[in-house]
Amino acid sequence: MSDVTQLSYLVASALFILALHWMNTPATARKGVWAGVAATTIAVLSTWALPGVSPHLWIVLAIAAGFLVGVPLSKVPLTAVPQRTALSHAFGGAAAGLVGAAEFYLGRMEGPQQLTKFRMVALLAEVLLGFLTLTGSLMAVGKLQEVKWVPQRSVTYPLQNVANLGLFGVVLALAGALVVDPPPPGRRSPSPG
């Protein structure tokens, strides 16, 4: 990563802090939004310009699709804002989980020195929390939107907490096993092996 990229990331971080700071009072709040937009644009453009980032068509298509869905989502009636926020959390969780999974497989292909214990802990936290957010937020969207196949009453069954905690324990144990005993380097195969 060049000095220019690092410098633009530094500027973007400062603008993000300012954006949150300007949200303190109504007088400066809209300036805060613009600082956030500027910071995101700077970070996206300087990442896009990195030498390792090549196939532009995919990126253009994904960003265009994001605009196509994002603009209508920002125009929902005020009564639907809670659902929109929940859906947005679901998208954010999905993005984090997918990037984490992709980084894991990429690191695995590049060799064992890539997946250090520290990186594995970070990746596992990202994937676990990301997909937990995805499914939980989708349930919230369904309930708030009163989708008919999502029951409004709370669904309970005997030993529910024990079952959930047990499942979470299994996930943590698997994560721990992946950190302690990282997988052997994979081949560059067309599908996850």
Partner: protein, 107 residues
């Protein structure tokens, strides 16, 4: 690699304190827009998605990246637009700077 872990933690810990400090005295009126702005800002994870999508990994990994890129872009676009929309509503003529129901809020 040890260097990577420590430099990451040296960013993480001060950033946590800055985050707390910056939002601690937000006026009650702005809690919802702040949440929505923070949601849009968190979509900065888009940077990782761009690197994965544009990288030289196998196609199926780049597909994961592209889906993540789509999801984050959606959050960026709708997050900033809806925050601005909320803030515009705060300033509608008649209600003044403080909206209805804000009289009991302590700024």
């Amino acid at each position: 690699m040890i260097g990577e872990m420590w430099s990451t933690l040296f960013v993480f810990v001060p950033a946590s304190f800055i985050g707390l400090g910056v939002i601690r005295r937000v006026s009650r009126l702005l809690h919802t827009p702040l949440m929505s702005l923070a949601n849009a800002i968190s979509a900065i994870a888009v940077v990782g998605a761009i690197i994965v999508t544009g990288g030289d990994g196998p196609t199926w990994i780049r597909v994961l990246g592209a889906v993540a890129l789509f999801a984050s872009t959606t959050n960026i676009v709708s997050g900033f637009l809806i925050t601005d929309r909320m803030l515009k509503m705060l300033k509608t003529p008649g209600s003044g700077a403080a909206g209805p129901g804000e009289s009991k809020g302590k700024a």
